[in-house]
Amino acid sequence: MTYKKELRLSEAGKGDVLTVCGIRDPCRGIAGRLRDIGLTDGTHVVCVGHSPIGGMSAYEIRGAVIALRNEDADTVLCRRTSGAGS
């Protein structure tokens, strides 16, 4: 896989496939919670859509679909594995 720039999970567009490469700000309460749902380094995440009035997006993580607020998805650093439509 070629190296691609890091981005935040919240920046993912619908259909983007990403690989988690770190969680920032581990002192915020969300870090443990993200780990519980299986969002750890190396996990593949697919952004499956955005909430109709924004502020929240849904991600497929380890076979389950979980919605996160953008502020929380901001703390997850990812690399793009493939873009929409690929």
């Binding site: 309460g29 780990r35 299986g38 009035i53 502020g55």
Partner: protein, 608 residues
């Protein structure tokens, strides 16, 4: 084989993997189930027997991990590890970890964490049927050998695999294998194990994603939400009328029969009147007017719940809740409030942040529960008659407007609280959007009628008869030849008049504190003070009685608003006290809606 041994077994698992379904199937109990994470907040207990002995099964709240990030996780962790507030409690004899075959990897994290505590574990891979229909395969034999604990495939909704589960559990209980607590990383282990025993086609969730595109789509989400709500109300209001007429016809004959029987055996007239005109009449009113809307609303709503639509509503509405400084999961507790506000208040435990939980608890009463919903339905039919509108779509529109007002107030008060006494930043949370499941129509109808409708009705009936007696007595017992009821109603009259109502209406609301369902019959008894209310032939008599007592369309609107927004029923108040542990917040939960409801009625009264 001895059957006198007693065992304690805990049922653990991620949220929404069908734990309650497994629980019900094993114990033969009827816990309410629904397709959304966080359904079970209070641990239920049930018993069943296996060859090894008698098992007490504890249904733990759904958790993603045993790390304690929220109160429910704390409960689950403490229970499994055998810790308790007082200390000294033993861990359970075994833990059944229910896993969702559709997303095994995530579910195995918890299973491995439970195994790591050293407690004997049985893994139940549930929803095998659903996985099969999505083309997902799980090799449970391989899973068992990799995990090193017994693993049972199961489809609890269809009752498949439960005998196997009992058998395996019995073996584990009769010869528990003590395992050393292991130091492995559950997350990476889960990923490895899941990868080698489960196969998942790329399009496993394609149907769900297509549905999501419509139900949570940018342009379709809100129209569909409004439409679904309107359809549910339309079905309820349309269907309730004929059912109500039928019931009241039958019950008025029952009343006549009882009266005849009492007179025939020589019971004094005053006792006969107390029983028939007081207790029975209020009771039958409640049954015939309140039962039909409940019996239709509950199943239709449960249908949406079973489908998995409710978390999507939370997802759609999250932006609004965020702007109000509240948690997106408040949408879930709000919708639980449609069933019962006390249940909604208890359900607020799914919200982790104490501040946001309090906001959700204080605003839960703004959605009409199943006790107030039929009252509003009846009031809308009165409004139709008083304003001369021939029903059609009008009742549904009014009901939608009323519920929209309730939801608006939920947002407004949440915002107000977050900006004033409960100031704070919105906290983080995760909201799982579960797979859509085809609702089991028969099951939904049977369960919602028997478990919920009859329960709510039973509660109403239990207070209806005594309340009927009380108001009958207040109307008969006189001080200085004026009935006590009249002192009460005339004292409240000016307060009522200011808000477009009257003293009798307010008295009825007050006496209906234990159950809002009885508000209307109490009003009728109040108007008939000293006399008797007409027997219930049909809903059609309501407008005539009310208009004879000075009601106009405006009165009906004010009473409708006040029904939607006033103090919560006593059960809800007690629940708020229990959940918040504070008298101050309990008072706030009662006074905030009372004040707002009264102010709205005054406004309506002064403007129109």
């Amino acid at each position: 084989m001895s059957t006198d041994k007693n065992f304690t077994v805990a049922l653990a698992g991620n949220p929404n993997v069908g734990k309650s379904t497994v629980f019900n199937a094993l114990t033969g109990m009827h816990q309410h189930t629904g397709n959304w994470p966080g359904k079970t907040v209070a641990g239920a207990l049930g018993t069943f027997t296996v060859p090894a002995g008698r098992v007490t099964l504890v249904d733990l709240p759904g958790t993603y991990s045993l790390a304690s990030h929220s109160p429910e996780e704390e409960v689950a962790r403490k229970y499994i590890c055998g810790e308790s507030a007082g200390g000294g409690r033993l861990p359970p004899d075994a833990v059944i970890v229910v896993c969702d075959a559709c997303c095994l990897e995530r579910n195995l994290i918890l299973a491995l964490q439970v195994m790591n505590t050293g407690v004997p574990t049985v893994v139940c891979v549930n929803l095998m049927d659903e996985a099969g229909s999505r083309g997902i395969t799980v090799d449970t034999d391989k899973l068992a050998s990799l995990l090193g604990v017994p693993t049972v495939p199961c489809a609890a909704r269809q009752g498949v695999g439960l005998e196997g589960l009992k058998e395996v559990l019995s073996k584990v209980l009769s010869s528990p294998v003590l395992r050393e607590t292991r130091e492995i990383d559950p997350v990476s282990e889960a990923s490895l194990i899941a990868a080698s025993c489960s196969e998942r086609p790329a399009d496993a969730a394609s149907r769900d994603r297509r549905l999501d595109r419509i139900l949570t789509g940018k342009f379709t989400a809100f129209p569909i939400m409004a439409l679904l709500l309107a359809v549910v109300f339309f079905i309820t209001l349309k269907g309730a009328g004929p059912l109500s007429d039928g019931l009241s016809f039958v019950l008025s004959h029952v009343e006549n029969f009882v009266r005849g029987a009492l007179i025939a055996v020589g019971v004094p007239e005053s006792v006969t009147s107390a029983v028939c005109d007081g207790a029975l009449r209020v009771l039958f009113w409640v049954v015939s007017v309140m039962l039909p809307p409940m019996a239709i609303f509950f199943p239709t709503f449960t249908f949406l719940e079973d489908l998995g639509y409710l978390p999507r509503v939370a997802y759609n509405l999250d932006g609004c809740f965020k702007k109000c400084g509240a948690c997106g999961k408040q949408a879930l507790t709000m919708m639980m409030g449609f069933g019962c506000n006390a249940a909604g208040v208890t359900g607020c435990r799914i919200i982790d942040s104490p501040r946001e939980r309090l906001v959700a608890i204080l605003t839960n009463g703004f959605v009409p529960c199943n006790g107030r919903f039929p009252v509003m339905a009846a009031l809308i039919s009165v409004l139709c008659a008083l304003s001369g509108v021939k029903s059609g779509i009008f009742p549904t529109a009014v009901m939608c407007a009323a519920v929209a007002l309730g939801i608006t107030l939920t947002f407004a008060v949440s915002l107000l609280l977050s900006e004033t006494v409960l100031r704070g930043e919105p906290s983080s949370f995760t909201l799982e959007l579960p797979p859509y499941r085809a609702p089991r129509v028969g099951e939904v109808i049977v369960r919602s009628v028997f478990d919920r409708t009859l329960f709510v009705l039973g509660r109403a009936a239990a207070v209806a008869a005594p309340a009927g007696l009380v108001i009958w007595a207040l109307g008969r017992v006189k001080i200085d030849s004026v009935p006590i009821l009249e002192y009460l109603t005339s004292a409240l009259d000016p307060i009522g008049r200011l808000a477009g109502m009257d003293g009798v209406i307010l008295t009825a609301f007050m006496l209906a504190l234990p159950a809002a369902e009885i508000t209307l019959p109490l009003m009728m008894l109040g108007y008939a003070s000293g006399g008797v209310i007409s027997p219930v032939r049909s809903l059609g008599v309501l407008p005539a009685i009310f208009s004879a007592n000075g009601w106009t369309a405006k009165t009906a609107v004010c009473v409708l608003i006040f029904t939607l927004v006033h103090w919560p029923c006593s059960t809800t108040i007690i629940t708020v006290r229990r959940e918040t542990g504070s008298v101050r917040w309990t008072l706030a939960a009662a006074l905030i809606p009372t004040f707002i409801g009264y102010a709205l009625c005054v406004l309506v009264n002064l403007i129109f």
